[in-house]
């Protein structure tokens, strides 16, 4: 009897664990009215909407992703925070860490090409320099 209840607890734990690792629904942010209002260049927005907004906006089910970066809250961030987030955006995509491998396995079309990565990083550099007043 003891073994059975231990087994069932384990089973429930495993089911919960799988819930935590569910891939988010793939919702394209349809238009500017739907998504976060951001003052970014068109080419940048296109990439962010396709490859990032699923996890990194208010509607995302991933609390972990939102804690690290939430574009819906971007405009409320202090400039110092923006610098940090921008710096990390370029680092993460350059190192191929974002989108995550798990996410890419579900949605391979969201992978950033080298050109797109370079585009974002150039934009990041410009934005950061603006914010730093360099």
């Amino acid at each position: 009897m003891k073994r059975l209840s231990l087994l069932s607890v384990l089973l429930v734990a495993i089911i919960f664990a799988f819930q935590a690792f569910k891939a988010p629904e793939h919702n394209y942010v349809v238009s500017a009215g739907d998504g976060p209002e951001l003052d970014f260049p068109e080419e940048v927005m296109a990439i962010l909407e396709r490859s990032c907004f699923d996890c990194h906006t208010a509607e995302s089910s991933s609390t972990k992703a939102k804690a690290k970066l939430n574009f819906s809250k971007w405009n409320k961030l202090k400039d110092s925070k923006k610098v940090g987030k921008l710096d990390k955006i370029c680092k993460e995509i350059k190192e191929g860490k974002m989108p995550t491998k798990k996410y890419l396995s579900h949605y391979p079309e969201t992978k950033l090409s080298e050109k797109e990565t370079a585009l974002i990083c150039v934009w990041v550099d410009e934005e950061v320099n603006k914010l730093l007043g360099d």
Partner: protein, 152 residues
């Protein structure tokens, strides 16, 4: 104890002994002006936390307790230190660009507020390294203040 078990035990002891001949380099260097404590004003409480809870992996001055001399523990520590320093090295703060410093302060904020840092495995062995909630708040406020100062 039968012969097989005895042989296995002896082999394990021999393997362990041989392992001790292979030790990683120690992470110990003189403190320089590049250290964060010389690069900026840090509140006393926060400074103490950083040195106690972070420096072992995030500086050039790792403290080595006696068991740190034993392989494979010494190698596990060496790995942690290598990873830690790559992500953030307080000893080299003065060598980071302003952008990197601001970014790292945000990293510290995220890691500490989410309780991802210090590592649980580190806290288990170094109980004084765990952070109380008020200490997390202190560190996080400091990162925000320091980042703000760097913006100007």
């Amino acid at each position: 104890m039968n012969k097989t078990v005895r042989t296995i035990i002896l082999l394990l002891i021999a393997a362990f002994a041989i392992m001790q001949l292979f030790q990683p380099e120690r992470n110990k260097a003189a403190v320089t002006n590049d250290d964060i404590v010389f690069q900026m004003e840090i509140p006393q409480l926060v400074k103490k936390i950083i040195i106690t809870s972070c420096y072992d992996c995030h500086s050039n001055q790792t403290r080595y307790p006696w068991y740190a001399s034993l392989s494979p523990i010494s190698w596990m520590i060496s790995d942690h230190v290598e990873d830690g320093k790559e992500a953030l090295n307080f000893s080299a703060w003065g060598q980071y660009s302003r952008r990197e410093q601001i970014s790292l302060l945000d990293d510290i904020f995220n890691a500490v507020s989410s309780k991802g840092m210090p590592l649980m495995s580190y806290i288990i062995i170094h109980k004084d390294a765990g952070l109380f909630d008020y200490e997390i708040e202190d560190v996080c406020s400091w990162t925000e203040e320091a980042a703000e100062n760097l913006m100007n």
